[in-house]
């Protein structure tokens, strides 16, 4: 497939597959930065990154609900679903790559690009062509990559909203999915907002709107409808050293000062891969165990998204166990690399099924 304008239901399903991949692709970078922070330090930064990461998990779940609602089949276990970092984002943003790296001004710079407000600086910048990326994700970037490249996640979701409305207006029977596949609020506990079951036009558009607003705010505002600061401006607080408060305008926060200690961070190996750690070492074994656990976790979440929503509860338990595994990795020195610590590599087997 290519990401061209949505004109058919199949196009919409392709976009929603890409949306799941996109939402997921942001999570390993956010978590790597988050857990590189020394426990008990950088409380402001820790909570800013954590809130955003958890909201991406909500967005992933909402994308799965939308895909299920329109009769698609979520698949987070297929080869290439988890990108090899550094990676371009799956919506085709062409001018930056995302890395797995420690909390640093560079990492926050990348996070600001991930969450940048919707509008491209000019129409020429909006739909970009670019060479085939190194870290291409097969489902989204086919050979001869000639699809649309969105300037921002916001523009990507604007096309999804437009496509849903367009197909609805054309009389396409969109919401043919099995309603029992929806993840409903009683299964989604304290995870960045309330999950929306998608069953019709209104709920589908509400889901898109929730994702877009948490990411970038209401049009013309740094806050969303619930009065929550959007992701871009949350991260910006870390570079400006000051919190936003009600009444503030973009780029000029006037709230309390915010302290960042860029040195209270474990010196993680950037974009580590499994072969960076010597075979036979405890670090290698732990990194492999994490990857295997992550693959199993994705598989479990995928089962939750494909007919057994109750499995989301035990999957969340697995997620917290993975968190503790990451904590052990990042506190260990990387063997043979003085001054550098180990890191989760998120290397997936070819297929995790």
């Amino acid at each position: 497939m290519t990401l061209s304008r949505i004109t058919t239901k199949a196009d919409l399903q392709d976009y929603l597959h890409a949306a799941m991949q996109l939402e997921h692709a942001t999570i390993p970078p956010y978590l790597t930065a988050l857990y590189s922070i020394h426990p008990g330090t950088n409380s402001d930064a820790f909570h800013v990154i954590r809130v955003v990461a958890v909201e991406e998990m909500l967005h992933l779940t909402l994308a799965a609900n939308m895909l299920n609602a329109v009769g698609g089949e979520p698949d987070m276990t297929r080869a290439g679903f988890v990108p090899r970092y550094p990676a371009y984002l799956p919506d085709g943003e062409a001018d930056f790559e995302v890395s797995l790296e420690r909390f640093s001004p560079t990492a926050i710079g990348t996070f600001l690009k991930i969450e940048r407000p919707a509008q491209a600086p000019s129409e020429e910048m909006r739909v970009l062509r670019r060479p085939k990326p190194r870290a291409a994700i097969p489902a989204v970037h086919p050979d001869g990559d000639d699809g649309l490249h969105f300037w921002s996640i916001g523009e990507f979701y604007a096309e999804i909203a437009r496509g849903i409305q367009h197909l609805h207006d054309q009389g396409v029977d969109l919401f043919t999915g099995d309603p029992s596949r929806q993840v409903t609020p009683e299964l989604y506990y304290s995870g960045g907002g309330e999950v929306i079951p998608v069953k019709d036009l209104a709920s589908a558009l509400a889901a898109v709107e929730l994702i877009s607003e948490q990411g970038e705010g209401l049009t013309g505002s740094i806050y969303d409808e619930e009065g929550e600061l959007s992701h871009y401006f949350r991260f910006q607080q870390l570079t400006l050293g000051r919190y936003y408060q009600a009444g503030d305008v973009a780029n000029s926060p006037t709230g309390p000062a915010l302290e960042v200690d860029w040195d209270a961070v474990y010196p993680l190996l950037t974009n580590a891969t499994i072969t960076d750690f010597p075979a036979g070492s405890e670090v290698r074994a732990a990194a492999e165990a994490f990857n295997a656990g992550y693959a199993e976790f994705l598989s479990l979440v995928n089962q939750a998204f494909t007919g057994q929503p109750d499995l989301l509860i035990p999957a969340v338990g697995e997620m917290f166990a993975l968190r503790d595994q990451v904590g052990r990795l990042v506190r260990n020195p990387a063997p043979g690399r003085p001054g550098v610590n180990a890191a989760p590599t998120f290397d997936m087997p070819e297929t995790t099924r």
Partner: protein, 158 residues
């Protein structure tokens, strides 16, 4: 000896007496804080003696676990001066708390000003080895997720 060069033998000894690997001990993020705690209470000289004897035991045991355990018991844990300290190092790793040495120990080896019972830090409590050992999370920290209390604990193999 600097704290950095002390860390490796301290971790090696700690691993042998806690049954957790050096990776797992480092994974608590508390290694440097615990070493500092022990040195701060009992002093460089005593810890140096303990670690030197431990290293000599390793050489002598030459990989034979049964010999090693026997020598550890005989030369460290049965030693009037080193035994209580070694036991309190184990408790430190498991509970994140330094326990004041017994009164008897002080009567023989003199009082140590900083030897009081204290939790090393808030993080030390959460990182105690007792929690993974029993497959539980530290109450109030490392939340394991809604509903996981209904599932059996995951206890690691030792």
């Amino acid at each position: 000896m600097s704290a950095q060069t002390r860390l490796e033998p301290f971790l090696a000894f700690s691993s042998r007496v806690t049954a957790f690997t050096v990776f797992e001990l480092q994974g608590t993020g508390q290694a440097a804080a615990y070493l500092e705690t022990v040195v701060g209470v009992v002093g460089e000289a005593l810890l140096g003696d303990l670690l030197s004897i431990d290293e000599a035991i390793q050489r002598e045991a030459d990989g034979d676990a049964a010999v090693r355990d026997r020598l550890l018991r005989a030369r460290i844990f049965s030693d009037e001066r080193l035994g209580p300290v070694a036991r309190h190092i184990i408790k430190l790793w498991y509970l994140g708390t330094w326990y004041a040495l017994p009164k008897d120990w002080h009567e023989v080896f003199g009082s140590v000003e900083d030897d009081v019972t204290f939790v090393v830090s808030a993080a030390a409590y959460a990182e105690g080895l007792v929690w993974p050992a029993i497959g539980a999370n530290p109450p109030g920290a490392k939340g394991p997720g809604y509903g996981t209390w209904a599932m059996p604990p995951k206890i690691p193999a030792f």
